[in-house]
C-alpha cells in the first residue's frame, strides 16, 4: 500500500487501485476500491482481521514487511534483498561496506508506478549492489546482497 492517508493506493498483482475506508455508525463500513463500494464489518488485531463481506467472514492476515522480507529471504538467501516484482531502482541509500540494522531501508524501487522500500531483515554489512540507480531489474533479482561480516 502507498499514498497519502487521504488517497491510498493498493498494489495487488499487476494492478493499482485507489482505496478508501469510510467508517459508519452501526459498524458497517464503506470500503471503496476505485469506483466500487463494498459494505463490510471489520474487527481484529494488528496481525489478523476478520471481515464480514456479503454474508461471509474472511480472515486476512497481515504480514509485517520486515517479517515477510525476512521470511522470503530465509527461503532463498538469508541475506539478500530480492525484487518482489520487475521494476526500476529509484534510490540506493547504502553503499558497499555499510553496516545496516534490521529495518533499515537498503533500496527503494519503483514497480507499476508505485514506489516501495526493501529493508534489511537483520543487522548486516552490504557486500554487493548489482544494480545502479535508474536501471531495470526482473522479478526475483538480487538487488542488495548482505553478509554478516565482510569476510563472508
Amino acid at each position: 500500500m502507498a499514498g497519502r492517508p487521504d488517497a491510498r493506493m493498493l498494489l495487488l498483482g499487476d494492478e493499482v487501485y485507489r482505496i478508501k475506508l469510510t467508517e459508519k455508525a452501526g459498524g458497517v463500513d464503506d470500503m471503496q476500491v476505485d469506483e466500487a463500494v463494498f459494505n463490510l464489518v471489520i474487527a481484529g488485531h494488528e496481525r489478523l482481521f476478520f471481515i464480514h463481506l456479503a454474508g461471509e467472514v474472511y480472515e486476512v492476515a497481515v504480514l509485517d514487511p520486515l517479517e515477510a522480507h525476512a521470511r522470503a529471504a530465509e527461503r532463498h538467501d538469508a541475506l539478500a534483498a530480492a525484487a518482489p516484482m520487475p521494476g526500476t531502482i529509484v534510490a540506493l541509500p547504502v553503499a558497499i561496506g555499510d553496516a545496516v540494522e534490521a529495518g533499515d531501508v537498503v533500496v527503494i524501487i519503483e514497480s507499476m508506478k508505485l514506489e516501495m522500500s526493501l529493508r534489511a531483515g537483520s543487522a548486516a554489512i552490504v557486500t554487493q549492489l548489482p544494480y545502479e540507480v535508474g536501471t531495470n531489474f526482473e522479478k526475483g533479482a538480487i538487488l542488495v546482497q548482505l553478509a554478516t561480516t565482510l569476510a563472508d
Binding site: L12, F49, I51, G55, E56, V60, P65
Partner: protein, 494 residues
Amino acid sequence: MSGILPFRSVLIANRGEIAVRILRSVQAMGLRALVLHHPADHAAPATRQADEVIEITGDTPVAAFLDAPQIITRAREAAADAIHPGYGFLSENAAFARAVTDSGMIFIGPSAESMALMGDKVRARAFVAAHGFPVAPSAIEEDDPASFVARACAVGVPLLIKPAAGGGGKGMHIVRNMDQLEDGLAQAQREGIRYFGDGRLYVERYVERPRHIEVQVLADHYGNVVHLSERECTLQRRFQKVVEESPSPALTARERQKICDVAVGIARAACYRNAGTVEFIYGEGAFFFLEMNTRLQVEHPVTEAVTGIDLVAEQLRIAGGEPLGFSQQAVNVRGHAVEVRIYAEDADAGFAPCTGQVLRWLPPSGAGIRVDAGIEQGSEVSASFDPMLAKLVTHAQDRQTALNLAVDALGKTVLLGCRSNIGFLRRLLQLPAVRNGDMHTDLISESMDALRRPAPPAAAVRALVGAAALKSRGVCDAADAVPRLHAAMGAWRN
C-alpha cells in the same frame, strides 16, 4: 393467567443461550432467576441479566455443571425454591431430579421415574412396544445373549447396531451385508465399553435415508396430555442437529395426526408430566419410535413460533401444580418456522470446533426473526463448553418465506473473532433438496462439495486486502514513514 406458583425463585442449572432463554420466562412470570456461573465463562449474558449469580467450581467447567451435590448445596444456600436444568448437563439425570426433590426443592421437569425409564433406551423401547406403539424390528442382546446373533440375523439387513447405554451416535454401526454382522457387533461392544462403560447391544432395522421427526408434548399432574405438533430435525452433521423446522414438509395431514397421537399415547402410558419430546425415525411412509427426551429441547423455539405457546412458562406452571390452561383443540399451528444452530466450528474442516474471542456480534432482528444467543461482544468462546453459540429462528406464513427470511437474516448476522458455520448454514438452506423438502439425515455429508465456501471473487479480495491494509496501523505507518514519494509496501496473505 396463572395462579400463584408455589415457588418464588428458580435456579437455572445451565449456561449459554438456554440459560438466557429460561431466565426470560422466569423473570417474565415475576420470579427471581438465579444463574450458575463458572469462572471460565467470560461475558456470559445470562449472568448479567440474573437476579443472583451463583459461582460454582470444578476441575473443569463441565465438571462443575455436572456436580449435582455442589449445585444442590449452592441452590439451598441461596434459598432457591426450584431448579430448571435446561438441556444437556444434568437435565436427564434421574438421580439429580430425585435429589432436588428430596432436598425440598421443585424440579422443573418430569418425575425421576419417567426420566429413568426413558433414559434406558432398551427399556424405553420395550415399554413403547409393549404398549402397541411402532418400534423398528429389533433384537436385544440381554433378552437372551446366546441367541443374539441369530436373532439379529432374523431382523435382516440393513440393520443398525446400537449400544444399549448409548447416545449421540457413538458406537453405532450400519450393517448392509450379514457377513459384516459379527465384526460390527464386536466393534460396537468395544466402543460401548469405552464410551459408556457398558457393552450391551441391540440391533434394529435400519431405515435408509431416514428423516428425523419429533413431537412436542406437554402433560400436567392431572392426566392432561397435549401435543404441540411436530418438528423435523433431519438435517444433521455428525449425528447432531443443525436445522429444525415445524411443520415437517414430509408428512401428510393423516400421517401428522397419527404420529402426534402416538406421541401423546406414549406420554400418557408413561404417566409423563411436564414438557417432553418423542422422537421418531421416518422413512418410506412408516415411522418408528426412536427415544423420548425428558427435557426442554434445543429446538423448542420453532414450536413456540408456530403455536404461540411459551414452553418454559408452561414448564414452570406444570411444575407449580397448575393444570394445563388449554386443550388440544386450542393448539393451532400457524405458518412455518425454521431454526438454524450457529456453531463455533469450521464446516470446511470436518466441522472442527473453533475458539476465539467474540470481537463483534451483530445479531439480525426484524419481524419474524428470533435470536437466542449465549454470547455477546467480548465473550470468550473456549473449548470448555459445547460449540453452539446461538440459534436463529424465523417464522413466516409458509416454508419458502421462512427459509428466505433465514437466508437473509444469516447474511446479516455478523460474528467476528471466532469462526462459525453461518456461511455454511446459508448455503445449506439454499440447497435444492432443502428447498424442496427432500431431505434425509445424510444430506449434509453427501452435499459437502456444494456446501464448501467458494473462493471470494477478485473484486471482494481487493476490498478485503484494502480494508485490512487501511485498518492496520503498521501498514499505514509504513506507508507514511517513507519520505515523500517513497512508500513502503506490506505483503499479504488471505
